[in-house]
């Protein structure tokens, strides 16, 4: 029974990684950049929810809603101010380093406003959860909600990309920016929408993350952000189902290795898996090798 419990909590953590990884993978797939500040958008989302619920006494749902809206605005603003001017830069490193800069900037702004002490975050999910087999198997409410939300997010995102004109425009831009603009697709608008969706997802991931692990500091988003990046690469960066699979694999491996091997070594194992996958299949689990025809 205990194995099942650990597996489920791995699934839950993996679901959070998956939602974060979706943001990473969408931005990479469409804008061809790695937004290393993505993890910090999560932290910003958490602080917004914290402020609305703990300081202002608001409803947790209202907190999430405000966080989603403000993170979306943050994502759009960051893209507009920091990334867009560098889109034509000679080296893709310029925008990568800027993203790292944005990450430090957000962490330090949070440090200035909220201080370095760890805030205790009240879960936005008050449901106790379910209990099976005479109480031997208990699943927390937050675990169930997290898994359900990640499935919902994946389905909605897939439908959006496959079935709407904005989604099709994203795919077109991802494949051939030049041809897309010549067909009348506004690349800037499309990339802005990608950032908006990615950042909104970061806020949702933040709410779930801090509900499951209720301690909040300016560095809360950094580690999950990096791990979600690993998840996106593991699944095949640019691929949406890949991000989901990568996230789940990573979450389960992390929890199981914490439980059965060593809690100190679990991160080493997680990153070790990345190295192995990159050696065996550099494009990731679902990544496709695209051959350029000359």
């Amino acid at each position: 029974m205990s194995f099942l419990t650990y597996l489920i909590s791995g699934l839950s953590l993996g679901s959070i990684y998956a939602i974060i990884a979706l943001g990473y993978t969408m931005v990479y797939g469409i804008a061809k950049m790695l937004n290393f500040a993505h993890g910090d958008f999560i932290m910003v989302g958490c602080y917004i929810i914290f402020s609305v619920t703990a300081s202002l006494g608001g409803n947790p749902l209202l907190g999430i809603l405000v966080a989603v809206v403000l993170c979306t605005i943050l994502g759009i603003t960051t893209e507009f101010v920091a990334y867009r001017p560098l889109r034509g830069a000679a080296s893709p490193l310029a925008v990568l380093i800027t993203a790292i800069g944005v990450s430090y900037f957000l962490e330090n702004v949070a440090l200035l406003i909220f201080g370095a002490d760890i805030k205790s975050f009240t879960s936005v999910i008050s449901w106790e959860g379910l209990s099976f087999a005479d109480g031997q198997l208990r699943i927390q409410g937050v675990t169930i909600v997290t898994i359900l939300i990640s499935v919902l997010v994946l389905v909605v995102l897939q439908l959006f990309i496959k079935k709407t004109k904005q989604g099709q425009a994203m795919l077109a831009v991802a494949e051939d920016k030049g041809a897309a603009t010549l067909m009348g697709i506004d690349v800037n608008k499309t990339i802005m929408l990608t950032f908006a969706i990615g950042s909104a997802l970061a806020a949702i991931a933040g709410a779930l993350l801090c509900s499951a692990y209720p301690s909040l500091s300016p560095y809360t988003g950094a580690m999950p952000g990096i791990k979600a990046f690993v998840a996106a690469v593991l699944g095949g960066i640019g691929s949406i189902p890949g991000a989901m699979i990568g996230g789940l694999v990573l979450g389960i491996v992390e929890i199981l290795s914490k439980t059965y091997i060593s809690s100190q070594l679990s991160d080493a194992i997680v990153f070790g898996i990345l190295v192995i996958v990159l050696l065996v299949k550099p494009t990731g689990i679902l990544g496709k090798k695209i051959q350029e025809k000359v």
Partner: protein
Amino acid sequence: MTLLDVNKLSISFGGLRAVDDFNLQIEKGELYGLIGPNGAGKTTVFNLLTGVYKPNEGIIKLDGEDITRKNTVQINQAGIARTFQNIRLFKQMSVIDNVKVGLSERFKYSAIEGILHVGKYRKVEKEMNEEAMKLLKVFDLDGEKDTLASNLPYGKQRKLEIARAMATDPKLLLLDEPAAGMNPNETKELMDTISLVRKEFGMTILLIEHDMKLVSGICEKLTVLNFGRVLCQGETKEVLANPEVIKAYLG
């Protein structure tokens, strides 16, 4: 009536004057050919017309409107659509989705409506599908609407690229070497497709081509480029009989 009016168009890359003092007038409904040896600057002219490059000098007017300084998206909306020398379809997308990308600026609903599948979403998507199918029927591609673009045979990829360009509802269609890499049968079929586009849509077409059979077969007027400059301009028959043109081509 003059649809495209290009005056004194020039662009340099470093020290090289790739296009120099280029003039071109195309009447509405005309099928116009742009020919010249390799490296003469033909594709550069297309890139200037569609806003990919900004000219150093000169003015481009489409239907009386100055489009010289507009960007690619604005120029597409003003009414110029194109195909590419090396086919640039969205290969990972289906045939119908390629056409719908071309349609997408003409059919509007918000991203929120799209995410939630509410509001105008269903109605507009239905209209887009109908419009896309109408276009695919014209190009005889409706039977393969769900095929991935990369899985289409070469000739049909060319056709789909023209269909996608037509989806943006242009006034002027630019075809960059549409017969490149085609066998004589495919070229014949392409000529039929081009005639069809003219008949169905009354389209004005400017095309770059090396295949002289195609050029002399369908183009009404020609401009010959050589080293970025206009060598000769006029009715197809006269241009092809010009000794200088023959010299530039045969060396």
